[in-house]
């Protein structure tokens, strides 16, 4: 039985978070009425010209710096010529020979538990380009409708080397990229709206063979699940073709989520000759070292560095650190909570990944919509830390806070949840209990340890449940030892 090796490279189109289009002042807002955001430039009216959006370039610089790539001091926009109704000029302005971002790497964690491993994926490049419009295939008397609102939306196309060897690696890479682009604020990552789209180049080769097999490109995968399913199907299909003696031909295919299969795109069958050449309407893009430095200064700590720091400085388990750095929002929420409850990193992590996350899930909310602020949560955790409330009490405070808002101390006060931690008061209760139950004291001192629980119960009852359990235990033990 032949052993096959899977080879995957990804091209990801990240829609950049700008207000206006890459080459014109039309809005990029999602969901507008068809063609109401198609200005003269988006429509390619005769005579119109492109002017480059500074913010789109800045997004590309941020990305380049975040992946340790070379940000080209001079890059060039070229025209990629082909006819398609969603491409109004008959060419797409893109970068070809000299892209703005060259090289770079992304290190990803693949799998979980014992089988988890780390892998570094090399990037070939990332370049700026404009998005196309949309063809709508509902029936307009057997015709297609064209909406050019999206035409000219800025994209960063991020191209990896064919470094991935399984669909799990591909998904881990895509997820890491998805985290990163949102982390550095260049893309909203909304996959349903098409803000983050993956094309997967997939081939197979016999294990040990150096040359790559012929690849097929799966276009426009807009969820991580589809990415995995499409690659898995495509790999099975390619292996089956080869094992049955057929050749693989280079092709562009689409994934049908309903059937779980890939199929050839009919429109892409004829050989393309894109006739790239430098766009004479746009001059070379020059990025100065000063600009790079200025952007670098605004770049946040990146997820990997933060994860490592959470482990090294805060003593968190790597698993927790990974979860806390899965998104910029989570990491920021965690940091703000910790600032409000200093020294309680593990407790913060437990609460954020436990109670808070569970409650958000139950209510179907994002972290951004969390009704409790990090400062409020920190208030609860501070009172756990100083022994003012028990864990059970803290959960009650949390529930009340979630439902009605308010500050931890006020809720503790209102609900009377404050623990008695006054040593004198606890000693007084203990002394009274011991004095009232001499027989049980004798039993305990005779070696019957289980009676200890009997005293705890009585003491709690006497304190109306508010005695600090740790302190109570300590006092009881001391007094019983007598």
């Amino acid at each position: 039985m032949m052993q096959w090796e899977i080879v995957i490279g990804l091209e990801v189109h990240a829609q950049l978070s700008t207000n206006s289009k890459i080459f014109s002042g039309a809005s990029t807002a999602f969901g507008a009425e068809p063609n109401t955001q198609a200005d003269a430039v988006s429509l390619a009216l005769p005579g119109v010209l492109p002017v480059l959006n500074r913010q789109a370039v800045e997004c590309a610089i941020r990305f380049g710096l975040a992946v340790g790539a070379k940000v080209a001091p001079k890059s060039v926009f070229e025209r990629k010529n082909y006819f398609y109704p969603d491409l109004p000029k008959g060419y797409q302005i893109s970068q070809f020979e000299l892209p703005v971002v060259q090289g770079g790497t992304i290190t990803v964690q693949v799998g979980a538990g014992d089988k988890a491993y780390e892998k570094t994926i090399n990037l070939t490049r990332a370049h700026l380009e404009e998005d196309a419009g949309k063809s709508l295939h509902e029936d307009f008397h057997g015709k297609s409708g064209i909406d050019l609102n999206r035409a000219g939306t800025p994209l960063l196309e991020i191209v990896s080397e064919p470094d991935m060897r399984s669909s799990d690696e591909a998904v881990a890479y895509a997820r890491a990229l998805h985290t990163l682009v949102r982390w550095i604020g260049i893309c909203d990552g909304n996959m349903q709206e098409g803000s983050f789209r993956c094309d997967a180049n997939v081939s197979v080769r016999p294990k040990g063979q150096a040359a790559f097999g012929t690849r097929r490109e799966i276009k426009n995968l807009n969820s991580f699940r589809f990415l995995k399913e499409a690659i898995d199907y495509e790999v099975r299909w390619q292996i089956n073709e080869i094992e049955e003696g057929r050749e693989i031909h280079q092709a562009t295919v689409l994934f049908d989520p309903d059937s779980g299969e890939t199929r050839m795109m009919r429109s892409k069958e004829d050989a393309h000759d894109y006739r790239y050449f430098p766009d004479p309407d746009l001059l070379p893009l020059v990025i100065s070292p000063q600009w790079l430095d200025a952007v670098r200064a605004t770049l946040p700590e990146l997820p990997q560095a933060k994860r490592a720091r959470f482990v090294a400085e805060l003593g968190l388990p790597d698993y927790d650190a990974g979860q806390l750095t899965a998104s910029r929002e989570t990491a920021d929420f965690f940091a703000a909570t910790l600032a409000a409850a200093p020294g309680q990193a593990k407790v913060c992590a437990n609460w954020l990944l436990g109670e808070v996350s569970a409650q958000l899930n139950r209510d179907g909310l994002d972290l951004a919509q969390c009704p409790i602020t990090p400062q409020q949560l920190g208030g609860i955790l501070r009172r756990i830390g100083d022994g003012s409330i028990s864990n059970a009490g803290a959960k009650e405070v949390f529930r009340a806070m979630w439902a009605e808002g308010g500050e931890a101390d006020a809720i503790i006060e209102a609900k009377g949840l404050k623990q008695v931690s006054d040593a004198g008061a606890i000693e007084k209760i203990v002394d009274e209990i011991l004095a009232a139950n001499p027989a049980q004291v004798a039993e305990y001192r005779g070696g019957k340890d289980k009676v200890f629980g009997f005293f705890v119960g009585l003491a709690m009852k006497a304190s109306k449940g508010k005695a600090n359990p740790a302190q109570l235990n300590e006092v009881l033990k001391r007094r019983l030892a007598g």
Binding site: L45, P46, G47, L49, P88, G90, I146, R275, F277
Partner: protein, 485 residues
């Protein structure tokens, strides 16, 4: 009134000797009478013109007028003008009413307050040197109606030569202002690339196209350029430079001006009668105190080949937007999307445009890009470097604008290569991005001859100065065709 210069017309309007409506009507009446034969205009819209004239009169009355307010002008039909049919002389855009204004149009009408007399005929998409490729029929040269006016701005040239308009706009990709100016006895200026905005000027070859003025005199050109030029944020290739008064140096004496005569422009290939007029003009310059020096542009013979790679390459891509989807012509019958594209473009474009699109697609295609497109770009640099070298020893370069006077209609229509060689002296200037002019300098067999003046980058004021002083000393530019009364 039709003989007057821009300055004189401005004075007449300011002094209320005539209103803009009267002046506009005068020219519109001439157009109505003479255009059916000359065919200089594709679109005339009396109502829109008069509305603009009334607005100009209001500005004049309110003392909110500039030096050109109320003066009529003819616009090459390559400039998009809101509410005006803007065809680029193509069936593809025969019904295209532009929903927006080109920057040049906005500057001349909204800002300067000039009045549009209409849109002038041209070679289709500016591809031609004779105005015979227009979908709307050829333009006749007012000096001899059996001859071409030159191209591609042939309609603008014929309109001004026949005094159907005081001045006109043109565009110049390989000589399209200068060559028709030469053939129609006009003064035409192609500015430094980037001085006049290309926004709204329908692109032929983006890295070469440049708009400019066409007028009887250098002074008119200077005043018109003042109003047309300037930085435009909508054009990435527009130059951010301080505002210039291009008329500031008109009167400067020419003593000591060094005129470079490229030996490549004075060899074989030029009609001897044309050459004689050019030589006489240079003699006139020497009388004005200029000195001539020989210079060399050793790669100039490569400008036509390089141009016919670069311009079609850019054009093939620029014209892809004409696909029958969002505006313009769409074929009536087709059976699929691709069939719609193929038929729309086959029927919408004329033969010369299709020829250049095919050349352009070919030189950019896989396997040919390096040998053709890149090689042409390298030669372009050699040609530009030749000028840099030449301007080390001279202030202006002079020579013939065109190797011949106006040729007969149909004479070269069947021979594209022969037609392309009409621009042998003008093309190098576009490749380098330099400013250049053509001015009337005499006649050969009764037909006008143009003298070409080429300046260093941003030397427009100096060019206009040299042209103006020549026109103070000669009257070639005042001569008019016989039967235009």
């Amino acid at each position: 009134m039709i003989e007057k210069s821009l300055r004189q017309l401005g004075q007449a309007l300011a002094a209320r000797e005539i209103s803009s409506v009267e002046l506009t009507s005068l020219f519109l009446d001439r157009i109505a009478r003479l255009n059916p034969e000359i065919n200089a205009f594709i679109t005339v819209d009396r109502e829109q013109s008069l509305a603009q004239a009334r607005a100009a009169d209001a500005r004049l009355a309110a003392s909110a007028a500039g030096p050109l307010t109320g003066i009529p002008i003819a616009q090459k039909d390559i400039f998009c003008a809101q509410g005006w049919t803007t065809t680029c002389a193509s069936k593809m855009l025969a019904n295209f009413v532009s929903p927006y204004d080109a920057t040049v149009i906005a500057k001349l009408h909204q800002e300067a307050g000039m009045v549009s007399l209409g849109k002038t005929n041209m070679d289709e998409f500016a591809m031609g040197s004779s105005n015979e490729t227009s979908y709307f029929g050829p333009v006749k040269n007012p000096w001899d109606r059996t001859r071409v006016p030159g191209g591609s701005s042939g309609g603008s040239a014929a309109a001004v030569a026949a005094r159907l308009a005081p001045v006109a706009t043109g565009t110049d990709t390989g000589g399209s202002i200068r060559q028709p100016a030469a053939l129609c006895n006009l003064t035409g200026l192609k500015p430094t690339y980037g001085v006049v905005s290309r926004y709204g000027m329908i692109a032929f070859a983006s890295s070469l196209d440049q708009g400019g003025p066409m007028a009887p005199s250098a002074e008119d050109c200077a005043l018109l350029l003042n109003a047309m030029s300037g930085f435009d944020a909508r054009d990435s290739t527009s130059l951010e430079r301080p505002v210039e008064d291009y008329a500031r140096d008109l009167e400067k004496p020419l003593a000591g001006l060094r005129i470079g005569l490229p030996r490549e422009f004075f060899g074989a290939g030029c009609d001897p009668a044309v050459m004689a007029a050019v030589q006489a003009a240079i003699g006139e310059y020497e009388k004005l105190g200029a000195v001539s020096v020989e210079v060399s542009l050793p790669n100039s013979h490569l400008s036509v080949p390089a141009y016919y790679v670069i311009a079609p390459a850019e054009a093939s891509s620029n014209l892809s937007r004409f696909d029958g989807v969002r505006y313009g012509y769409r074929a009536p019958d087709y059976d699929s999307l691709d069939d719609m594209y193929m038929k729309t473009r086959a029927q919408g474009f004329g033969a010369e445009v299709k020829r250049r699109i095919l050349i352009g697609a070919y030189v950019l295609s896989h396997g040919y890009y390096d040998a053709y497109y890149l090689q042409a770009q390298r030669i372009r640099r050699l040609i530009a470097a030749d000028f840099v070298e030449a301007f080390k020893s001279c202030d202006l370069i002079m020579g013939p604008t065109s190797p011949s006077t106006a040729f007969k209609l149909g004479e070269r229509a069947a021979d594209p290569v022969q037609m392309y060689l009409s621009d042998i002296y003008t093309i190098a200037v576009n490749l380098a991005g330099l400013p250049a002019m053509s001015i009337p300098c005499g006649f050969a067999d009764g037909l006008p001859v143009g003298l070409q003046l080429i300046g260093d980058y941003f030397a427009e004021a100096r060019l206009l100065n040299a042209a103006h002083r020549f026109q103070q000393a000669t009257d070639w530019h005042r001569r008019q065709p016989a039967d235009i009364a």
